[in-house]
Symmetry: C2
Subunit: 412 residues, 2 copies
């Protein structure tokens, strides 16, 4: 059975990490920065060394193409993103692009030919750290956003994505979204603790959770902490605490997949000896099934109303975003699972909790993802770490999933 070279893959990941390397062991390559350009150039050079042609679309997405036996077939596309968070790790995104490169290298060394062409993609501005929103250029590719919208996004200094693409020389001629795609495969670190804690090394990702975001405001009344008896207080923080506990309990009724998180809280006036009169907080609800997610949202709203009535405070609960769940294509998910099984890797089906380019692309082409463990589930952090043998296993799984998909194709 054909295998990738884990050492070569690791070395490429480490070499890429040198570009924008941070003192704390991470990387900073914000989308379309000079560092991002240097990373793109390095990647393009590696691809040319493998006889791949580089194609750039109008959003700066890079496609490195290895010819197939039948170039009329839509390509099998493997990739992710090379941009990072400001205090990013060395693996988030990078691993998925370089796993694609390693697969091409392995196929080339083995002299193996696929029926369909194979392309490695680097999507522009996945992180959203420089230009909001995240997953921007894969979103344009999939028809979620208009190209004009994406090109007009500006960073904190007012520089547009369009201007920065031109500045670094990555504004291509090909219209974004025009390029055909037979299927899309993406490898990524899990960014969560599930594989590690279950001692598994491959996550067969079946799709992504739906998400609903809420802004809540609890309005009570400021009062003197000493001279205001407990009965009759309108303590906004006590009410907010009841909400936090209630949301946690609510998620417990939607296990194993439902999650509820209050990530942000602001207390006013935030003074030691004043009963808080106001709290502003957020709620993040996620579930892979949209109907269940709607039930969670309904229960959250009901809890807010009940808490307000019980405590004589006002609570507003406004939904500010709803991202529907994504289901990956069965044939692609099955191919990943079979590959992991045949390679003998402990694996599990799982749903992605984070957003990825694959979640956008899945709207347009059959898609699947492979997750590998990351230490402690830590990501978006310079300490992010993944074991070399896990990266190797993920790339092997991706390789054989791609070959399985390829074997189902017939020449047109």
């Amino acid at each position: 059975m054909l295998r990738v070279d884990g050492g070569r893959l690791w070395q490429s990941v480490m070499d890429m990490a040198e570009i924008g390397a941070t003192d704390a062991g991470g990387s900073c390559r914000l989308a379309l920065s000079d560092e991002d350009k240097a990373g793109r150039d390095l990647f393009a050079g590696w691809c040319r060394d493998e006889d791949c042609g580089i194609h750039i679309d109008s959003l700066g997405n890079m496609f490195a193409r290895r010819a197939g036996a039948d170039d009329s077939l839509a390509p099998i596309v493997i990739g992710s993103h090379l941009d990072t968070q400001p205090h990013g790790g060395r693996f988030d995104g990078v691993y998925g692009v370089l796993a694609g490169l390693e697969i091409v290298r392995a196929l080339n060394r083995a002299g193996a030919q696929t029926r369909a062409p194979l392309e490695i993609v680097n999507w522009t501005n996945e992180e959203g750290a420089r230009f909001a929103p995240a997953m921007l250029a894969s979103g344009v590719y999939a028809g979620v956003h208009e190209a004009e919208f994406a090109l007009s996004r500006a960073d904190g200094d007012g520089r547009t994505l369009e201007r920065e693409l031109e500045r670094i020389g990555y504004a291509g001629d090909e219209p974004c979204g025009a390029r055909p795609m037979g299927c899309y495969l993406e490898a990524h670190i899990e960014q969560g603790p599930v594989l590690e804690s279950n001692r598994e090394i491959i996550g067969v990702v079946t799709g992504a959770q739906g998400t609903r975001w809420f802004d809540l405001r609890v309005a009570g009344a400021d009062a003197h902490a000493g001279s205001t008896p407990m009965p009759g207080r309108k303590d906004a923080l006590a009410a907010a605490a009841a909400l936090v506990s209630g949301f946690e309990e609510l998620a417990g009724r939607f296990l194993p997949h439902g999650v509820a998180t209050c990530g942000e809280m602001h207390v006013l006036p935030n003074s030691r000896n004043t009963v808080p009169g106001e709290v502003r907080m957020t709620l993040d609800l996620r579930h892979p099934e949209d109907a269940q997610l709607a039930e969670m949202a309904e229960a959250a709203r009901a809890l807010a109303e009940k808490t307000a009535a019980a405590r004589g405070v006002e609570i507003s609960c406004e939904q500010i975003w709803h991202g529907a769940p994504v289901k990956f294509a069965r044939e692609c998910v099955d191919a990943v699972e079979s590959a992991a099984a045949e390679l003998g890797y402990p694996h599990r089906r799982m749903v992605s909790g984070a957003g990825h380019d694959a979640c956008q692309v899945a709207r347009k082409a059959p898609t699947a993802m492979v997750f590998v463990p990351c230490e402690g589930g830590v990501s978006h952090n310079e300490q992010e770490y993944a074991e070399p043998e896990h990266l190797e296993a993920g790339a092997n799984t991706l390789l054989h999933a791609a070959l399985k998909f390829d074997s189902t194709l017939t020449s047109q």
Copy 2:
């Protein structure tokens, strides 16, 4: 029965409020500021108009003395403070000083003589807003602080209390604490909702609550809100919410007097889609009985330990301050209660939730306080308001409590 002139008292309160008047209807006379000097000068002038001699001690405390029939008796002292919060109201402190002045005026108009001398006091830096801690100069008077400690306190610009006393001409020669005191009576707005909500107009204050302040830190682990399942999370905010609810429930076991307040909370990293890894918060526990307060503190610590164990997080709970409860002298409290009853004012015995100069002075001389309602319990706020007839009732109660105390004295 002798009565004060409510209209004259109200006018004096309004005249004093003009000094440092704020646009929003309050006053700003920070301790030893130019405005405080102007307020002191106005008060001293009014006292001299009533044939009172002004005595200033080394901390700038002002004593305006009306002679008694027997000047060898220790004086009956009535007062409070003229300094305010930065966004202070018109009544906090001011009312107690000017109630003393109004009593002297009423006695003078009636040609009434007391056995003991009567003194009106204005204590320096009660608020603590400019020089920390609060109740500073009454604390020196009562032996709680050394004079040197108080004189060396500096404001935010590094100017010491000693320098500022000299600058405004209120550094007196008399050693602070040397002046004898037969008893001390202080009228004050309640700064809480109890009298108003019970439609009573006189609070017979029997003492002040004890207070314990705690700093808590909950250390969990940051995690991705999407990719981290509910079981296994170390959500610091969920743990903090359990503490807030638990402390509230704890106070409920110590009703009617026990109170528990979490006034301050800081969530880290405070990001919508990150499970919070750390929370810092405060706890303010109060009870009029020190033994009960100790029980509350013990229960709070136990709750922190139990919550840490149950949730797999670390919780530290450090007591940073303990102020013991204060009990006022029975004879003084009884005198206030009898006066209120004889004057026909609806009244109740109550414990002060806030700190006052009387809480310091009570360590040195028999002391009592009279509370009057303030609108909505609002204080330390430019909107602070008290009804003229309530101020009048409080001053009448104080007057007759003083006369009752005086009548128990025999010449030495």
